[in-house]
Structures are given as C-alpha cells and as structure tokens.
Symmetry: C2
Subunit: 410 residues, 2 copies
C-alpha cells in the first residue's frame, strides 16, 4: 500500500549535528520494503552509558527481553534495528534470532554480542527470516562515513509516512553538548511507559543512574503522554545513549544544577519526537492536545485525558470537524476518575463551550465550526475537584486509519 | 444521514406476545426524526415490580438520576422515553425537564409523577425542548389499543438501523409466563453495568428483590459483555418490569427451583437483545464472539476479552477480513492481566492459529482467509494460567462507523 505523507508532517527533516562517539550505518535488505534502508547499525564509543524504557506489555517481543537484559548488565557497545518484522510471539526461534542478530552486529563493530541492544518493528507473529538481515549487516562497511540522521530514521520506520528526528544543544559546565534523537511509530501507539522505537544520543558525560532517572521522568510527559489508537505495542523501546565525548566532567548527581538546561533540552527532543509520532498517526488529519485541569491527582487527570483521547466517538467527531463536546462529557464520565459534572468546564481552543454542567452562555456553533477547521486543536477540560493537571496528545480517527489497518499484512 | 439496514440484522422483527398488565403507546413529535415514533409511554398494572441497572458513568444524564431515585423508592406505575435528545449535561433545566416529563406521563396514565421512570437518548449537551414531547404525550389516547412491540422498539431508537425485540416463554409453578424485551443502541456502547436502553416486561409474579438479583446477575454476561466502540453511554438504562398477572403465587426466594426456567428464559431475552445491539453496531459488517479461557479469574478473562474486543487494530483487521492474530497477541499483552505468552493458544473458529507462543503447526493462511469471510466469527484465546473464562461480543470497525460519527450532530 502506498501511504501519502501525513498532512501534519513537518516541512522538512531537521538539521541535526554529528554526535561524537556515535557511528551509524544502514542497509537495504529488500525483505519487506523495497528501495529504502530497513536495517540500522549503531556503534557507541567505549565510554558510553545507556538508559532505556520498554513496553509494559505482558507479551513483549524477544528483542525487548534481550535489550532489557542488556540494560540490566550495563551494555553499551551498540544497537541493531530491523524494520518489517517485529520478531514477537516467535518462541524459541525468535529468541535465537535476536541472539544471532546481536552476534552479527558484534562481529561487525567488534564487541561481545551481549553488549549489543536489538530492536525489531513490523508484523507480529511472523517467524523472523534472518538471512536478509545477515546479508544486510555483512554488506555494511564500517570504514564508511556515518549515514545521515534522516537515513537512520528511515531505516527504522514501517508505516511511517515521514522520518522523525529532533535535535537540541545546551552546555554542561560550560562545554557544548548535543542531543539528537530519532523515532518511528504511527500505529499501535498507546504507550504504557515508552512507545514505539526511539533512539536518542548525546555526547554528554552523565552517569548511567542519572541518565536513566532523566529518561524515565521525561518519558512520562512525552512518549507516555501520547496515543494514536489506544493499542500498546509489544515492541516499544526508547534508548538514550550518552557517549561522554563532550569536554566536561562526569555528572553523577540528579540534583546537579548543571543538569537543568540538559534536562530541558532532552525534554524538548523527547516531546518533539513524541508529537511527530502522533502527527504521523495512521490516517491522522488533526493533531489534538488534550489538557485536563482541576483534577484530584496527576494520575486522575491523565486517566480522564486518555479517556477523551482514546474515545472513538471523540476522535471521529474531530475528523468530521464537529465540535461535539457532548462526547467529551461522555468520555469524562466513562473514565471513572473523580469529576464534578455540575462544575465541569470545557474549552475548544480559546472558546468556552460548557461551564457549570451546562452549555456556556454565548456558545456559538459557527465560531466553533470555524475553529474545528484548524489542523492543530487544543481541548481543555476542567473537572473542578482539585488542582492537578495532565496534558496528552492524540490525533483524529479517519477513513485512512481503516484503510491502512484493514489490510496491513498483505 | 440515511443509514442502511445493518447487514447483520435479523430477517424480521420477532413475534412477541402481549404481556398482561403492560399498556404501551407511541407518539411522533417530529422534533428530530420525521415519519416515525420517537416517544414511548408505558403503563404498568398496579401490582408491578421493577428492577433496574444504570450507567456507571460519573457524568450521568438527568433521566438516569431520576430513574435511579424511582427505583430506590419502588416506583412501578410506568415509563416515558424520548429519542433524539439524551438530556445529559443540561444542568437544572435538564432536571426540571425530567420532572416535567414524569408529570406529563403521570397525568396521562393516572399516577404520581415520582412513580414514572424516564429515559432519554440522543444528542448530549443540547438543552431539551419539552414542547414537542408534551404535544406528543398529550396526543396519546390511552383508550387506544397497545402499540406493537415493533413500534415501541422503533420509538426508542436513534442511529439504530432496525428495531430490536426478543421474547421467551416458560412456566412458573405450572403457570405460563411470558418475557418480552426491546432495546436500542448502536454506538457509544461499552457497558459498565448496563448499556443503552432496554426495557423488559414479564407477567411473572416475582418479588422486587428477586427480580433485581436476576437482572443484575444476567446483566453481567449479556449487556455488560458487549462493546461496539469502548465508549460508555451517559444514559444506559435497563429496566425489568414484572406485572404479576400470571396465575402463580409470588416467588420471593432467589433459590426457588421454580426460577430456573424463568432465569434461563430471561437470560435468553437479554442475550438476544445484547447481541442485536452489537449487530447494529455503527458501521458493523462482522459480529464477533471473543472467548477467553484459561484465565486466573473471571474478571481477568473479561479484561483480556474486552482488550481484544476494543482494540482498533483488531477490529480494523477483522473489517478487512485479515486473520491478523498478531494483533490478538498485542491486545492480550496490553490488557495487563496475567497471561502466559509462551503457552498462549489462539483459535479462529475451528482453526488453531497459534500455540505455545508460536504460530501453530499446519497454519494455513488460505484456510483462515476463507474463514474470515463469514459474517459471524468466533475467536478463542487460551491464556494458560488458570481455569476461568469469559465471553464478550463485538463488531468490526469500518468506514461506516466514521461516516456515521464524523457528522452525527448535523
């Protein structure tokens, strides 16, 4: 199936700097996708530290199990990714396949197999055929210059309609530091910790513990705050690798004030990548921010926001540019989280559409109909029982989603 | 929007007998729907007992609150239903409107307003205009013969493409007893106790307590075991009225062996109505039974079954007649309920597609592709950690759902 570039896609792939200590190569196996790379190999400098978050699915893929074990033992040599087959629910053959992939990468970049992270994305349940990946990895010339970030992003994508990258810079102890990330994902997006695949690299010199703490915290409000279709992937993996090539001393205290600007920059990269995933949501024509305020707790606010963001009735109304705020009320009600129906307020962009449990005075259908034509929409709901809030991002549900998913495997 | 009759609709409305002690009339207000009844008035005989279950939404409509209070005080005189406006999120005006509706009905059938149940279905958030309903109720001639069950079912429907009715008979203490039910519903169907509107009548002589116990129990495996779109209505109401006109003594013990055949008959009516709701699911082209076995508990089995039934990726694959069982694995994994991935077995109808965490030996795509062409499908998943099971019913997710819901209010 030929997929048209999402109407919400950014104009172009961003300029992204080289990260010292990161070498990357891609290969085209031709196994599922023709004419584009579908394998990514990354080699990290010896001093690198890696942090990661993975799917909470109780039926994770073999690569997720492998990479979790890598993380536990502090593996830091490299990463091999293939797109087209997720190697999930593939039993012992799948487990053997991951080990073989790690061995291929290790042979190429010169390290132990157990030091190589592996990620796979694509169809679930199809036994993995190793030979095309093996041929692809064999063909990589490590003497070659790095592939571009854009090519790396392309190599890890499946139904994505555009490659996703984001970069930021900051200073640590006066030394310039760079952060570059790539991501893939457009369906089966409903993170329960991480979502889809994302690999983020920095030359900062930061201890593993601090790196992991930053990634876990920022993940909650970026990748874990998006949903396309409420379906949680079996392969979700986000890795953050720091190569320690920047010219500053190691930071090993999460409270180090030097970290503030780094954390902000890393958060921007992760937010940007998470938003790009939603904007490439299968069939998406609208990007929607849903902010719930006045909740009892942050988790209650998130539960309500996700209930709205995942409601097929809300999502189809948005696709139809219909400001059907009654369905927002429904979704608040079904979430089960505490809300004061008779004090509820709902805003579409700058327009108050409901307050005190009733349609707002001055409500004007024409004004709202006009607002709904925007490709990016903001919906805010105040549930009037507390002071906590949470924001999530989603897209609409269109015919495009059904076209893509009614016929994905063929 | 003109909606085509669901391809899953039954051939015709069933023959349904008169229930002694139940009088029914409909009216056409023309407020939203032209050329068909949209108001239903029911009068119950003086000895009647009523049981009920309602939406668990935290933002229920004013009619739900009114009828819950009726149930608490043992109201048993009658019922007024309007279709087209759900009278939800309508504040004090909505609450006044329900009371006024109860008064209209009380004046017509000769009782106190507080003894009349009220149910409304349709758009949420639109202030209710009472005058058309008032005109409609005024025009009803109570001397007229009962309307047909089919007309009654039509009068309570909204986006339904066919009227839904079901009837069974049995004996109690040797006396013939009849059960007739009607229902409406096709979108915003994800019961969290009851779903949509359903009104069931019997001439049996059964105490209120026993009636309520039967309704609550049977509801769990009928209306509470279906989902169209995971969205829980603000108006869900199921009422069961027993007029005590049958010629047997009152049954007031839930363990009375005489109840066995009545319970079975009532269960059949409720199952049939629940299935009819799913078969009229907005845009539905496939009716799907999902049975989860081998679970730790009934609630775990239901959580897994609902996770599969509500997955947009599973539902779109079914729409595309694609036996994409990898998405079943995904949905099991995201449910969070305990399952043994490496012992999981999946059946599509009679065909074993996966076992022991891997594609089944003899798996044949052609056979499955052929099976997927059936309008009614059965999917069974054994999660291999216990002995409990649960079955739910759902439909596929098609372009029709989006067509209907992208433009519902206009």
């Amino acid at each position: 199936m030929h997929l048209k570039r999402s109407p919400l896609a950014p104009c172009h792939f961003p300029d992204m700097p080289h990260i010292g200590g990161v070498q990357m190569w891609t290969a085209k196996t031709g196994a599922k996708y023709q004419g584009r790379p579908d394998v990514l190999l990354v080699k990290l400098a010896g001093e690198s530290r890696v942090a990661g978050v993975f799917t909470k699915s109780t039926a994770p893929g073999a690569p997720v199990e492998w990479s979790k074990a890598c993380l536990a033992r502090g593996a830091n040599a490299g990463l091999l990714v293939n797109a087209g087959n997720a190697n999930v629910f593939t039993g012992q053959i799948g487990r053997d396949g991951v080990r073989d992939m790690a061995n291929m990468a290790a042979g190429k970049i010169g390290c132990e197999a157990q030091d190589v992270y592996v990620a796979s994305t694509g169809v679930i349940g199809e036994p993995l055929t190793l030979s095309p990946i093996e041929q692809g990895v064999k063909g990589i010339q490590v003497a070659d210059v790095n592939c571009s970030w854009e090519n790396a992003a392309r190599a890890i994508s499946t139904t994505d309609t555009y490659p996703k990258g984001s970069a930021q810079s900051c200073t640590l102890d006066g030394a310039p530091v760079h952060i570059c990330g790539i991501a893939k994902g457009s369906g089966m997006i409903a993170p329960d910790m991480a979502t889809m695949l994302s690999f983020i690299f920095t030359d900062a010199n930061i201890s593993r513990e601090v790196l992991q703490a930053l990634l876990s915290e920022l993940n909650e409000t970026s990748f874990n705050a998006i949903t396309v279709d409420s379906d949680t992937s079996t392969s979700d993996t986000v890795l953050l690798a720091a190569t320690a090539q920047a010219s500053h001393g190691e930071i090993n205290d999460i409270n180090d004030p030097e970290l503030v600007s780094f954390k902000r920059a890393l958060g921007l990269v992760m937010h940007d990548l998470a938003h790009q995933v939603v904007k490439d949501g299968e069939g998406a024509s609208k990007f929607v921010e849903i902010c719930v305020t006045g909740a009892e707790s942050g988790s209650a606010a998130k539960a309500i926001a996700m209930s709205i963001a995942n409601s097929p009735l809300v999502k189809t109304a948005i696709a139809g540019e219909d400001a059907n705020w009654g369905r927002i009320v429904m979704a608040v009600g079904k979430s089960g989280a505490h809300a004061n129906r008779d004090k509820l307020a709902i805003y579409f962009g700058p327009y108050l559409v409901a307050k005190d449990g009733y349609r707002a005075p001055g409500y004007d259908e024409g004004t709202l109909a006009n607002y709904m034509k925007n490709p990016e929409l903001k919906i805010r709901v105040d549930v009037a029982v507390g002071t906590e809030s949470f924001t999530v991002w989603t897209c609409d549900l269109t015919h495009g989603y059904i076209d893509i998913n009614a016929d994905y495997r063929s």
